[in-house]
Symmetry: C2
Subunit: 339 residues, 2 copies
DNA sequence: CAAAAAAAAACAAACGATTGCATAAAAATA
DNA sequence: TATTTTTATGCAATCGTTTGTTTTTTTTTG
């Protein structure tokens, strides 16, 4: 059990000073080629690892990006994280992943820890519970770049990377109409979350544009979990005049619908068409496979990281907060195309 | 944009010294009750956040546990992480999550970063590619507690938290036998990973114990992805004498098998029974639902963290490396019970 | 070849929290 | 009241890097 080798160990061994070692390792112009080579070689030989705590303390922050998401086991979020990791790696930064399980308290806690550990920036998708954004004030006050993605804060003076959920929903519903479905129901999420509000609006817009009557009884709000999808589907097919398609704001509730329809022996897509949202992995794996809306998680992550790097590279701090909106893509599968 | 408040700011304001502030905040016995109250109150008022970099540098490490997993979007791993997070939080530690995407290079990189950032311990499940464990030597040399879980290193002198994969596989196969299946195939993973080797052995043991002949042509090794499951299943049913059941070492390849069988119009479970492994979320959601083996990810995470805390609390460093083995549980669903 | 200019390396002071040791203040004892 | 003991606080060094400034060495130039 040996102590870790430091910059001073290397300095001693080469009869020079820590400052020279430090600069040599950073390829500083004031260091001669020959010295650089000696230093780099020795560092490799001794397996030198920079002490990030010391470096971070000195320069006031660490080369780290904090990412806060509701849960890491959703395909969308894990794709976002992968995107952030890519960009971070390219720029020599590390990523700290935090999950809140949709709890505000956890969100607060992670935020404090990230501040405390001197992250250079914070990317966050807020939890279902979060409807107050005071805890983000401290981050902004300290001048730490803050970027929201997907589920964003209702504040104007922050950077946001969003999906055009309205457009995604619109595409999905138009696709159903194009495939001959006439009465299209909607599984909606809580209205106070931007993503669900927008998806519902996209649905309504599509119906209006195609002169289809909007029927309130075909719009069911829930928590969009599998079980809710099942319950909602049951409710729908027991109507005197049931719908012939469902556009669900979540793949999970769409799955619930599929399971219920299967149990009832109702044929999907021929009797009822179903479209989900988020393009979770399982949508391609089930039978019938589920048409869904791909939100390009990876891209969102890359954009969020990109905005972060732009922020820190801007010396004048003159950047005004931006909102970037990405267009989602409809992935057509078996559940919505009549045979 | 204000500077963050430090311990010296607080000291100045209370006409005392940083050392007193530091001790007061840590509830050190040498500080008077009155002083503690003043300090704690002011710290709260000024929203003081400890500078983890400075503290970490001073004491030589940070109150952080690093967790390295192949991927965070697997239910098993995200459960493990949740378990670790629980225990860490209870003990005032933070968790840094790293994913390798099964690449050794990433494993190395994360390991270096964790060392560099002074984590107090490292919990790791190695990637599919990893068959050499040299990169962990440095961790041990530095005396950083290292705990392997699930996919563990073939070294004897490290802590390990494992599933009894052999027992899990045995249970699964016996369950198939009990349900009247006679010729049971196996989708195996690479032999150099302990988990897959053990699952195969459990399979073989069960066949032996029940006097069922082992047929090499019924054992197919692959990367256990969905597509491989499909291909392997095709291969099996094209045999002159195809099997009537499959025990897959992964839920994903089991799913591939189910999809192929569905396409072929072969009835599961009546014609062919299928059992998977890991109890991924989707196993309960597909039709027919997939019998699988639950590995208690949460518990594994908690145990791994527990072993870590025991390590750091042991002053004499007298602890000998331990191996903890948990018994997995068979979750019986539709895919393996004839109607 | 001496003086000036350029290049390379050394010096030293941070960054903020922690902690062993010294000291001051308060309390207890003689 | 003087002295010892206890309790509370202050002092100062330290962790390993970074970086502005100074010094030394080398190179260039008249």
């Amino acid at each position: 059990m040996k102590k870790r080798v430091t910059i001073q160990d290397l300095a001693k061994e080469l009869n020079t000073t820590p400052s020279t070692i430090s600069r040599a390792l950073k390829n500083h112009p004031a260091i001669s080629k020959s010295m650089k080579k000696k230093v780099v070689d020795l560092a490799k030989e001794r397996n030198y690892q920079i002490n990030a705590l010391a470096a971070g303390l000195r320069i006031g922050k660490s080369k780290t990006i904090g990412v806060i998401v509701p849960r890491i086991n959703r395909d969308f979020f894990s794709n976002v994280i992968a995107g952030v990791e890519d960009m971070a790696f390219e720029n020599g930064y590390n990523v700290v992943i935090c999950q809140t399980h949709d709890k505000v308290a956890k969100e607060r806690q992670h935020l404090n820890t990230l501040i405390s550990s001197g992250v250079s920036g914070i990317l966050v998708s807020v939890g279902l519970e979060t409807n107050n954004f005071d805890h983000f004030d401290e981050v902004k006050r300290l001048g730490i770049p803050l970027i929201f993605f997907d589920r964003v804060a209702e504040q104007s003076d922050v950077n946001k990377i969003q999906n055009n959920d309205k457009a995604g929903a619109y595409k999905a519903v138009v696709h159903l109409i194009d495939n001959g479905y006439k009465r299209i129901a909607h599984f909606a999420g809580p209205d106070y979350l931007n993503v669900y509000k927008d998806r519902k609006e996209g649905y309504l817009d599509a119906l209006r544009d195609y002169n289809i009557e909007i029927e309130e009884e075909l719009i069911i709000e829930s928590d969009l979990k599998v079980e809710s999808g099942r319950v909602s589907m049951k409710q729908l097919i027991e109507l005197p005049n049931p719908p012939d398609a469902v556009f669900s704001a979540s793949d999970y509730s769409a799955l619930g619908a599929l399971l219920y329809l299967d149990e009832m022996g109702i044929d999907v897509p021929n009797q009822i068409g179903v479209v989900g949202y988020s393009n979770e992995n399982f949508t391609a794996l089930i039978s019938p496979s589920l048409t869904s809306v791909n939100q390009h998680g990876m891209e969102i992550g890359r954009y969020a990281a990109k905005v972060f790097f732009e922020e820190i590279n801007d010396q004048q701090k003159s950047l005004i907060p931006r909102t970037i909106v990405l267009d989602p893509e409809l992935i057509i599968r078996a559940s919505s195309v009549r045979k």
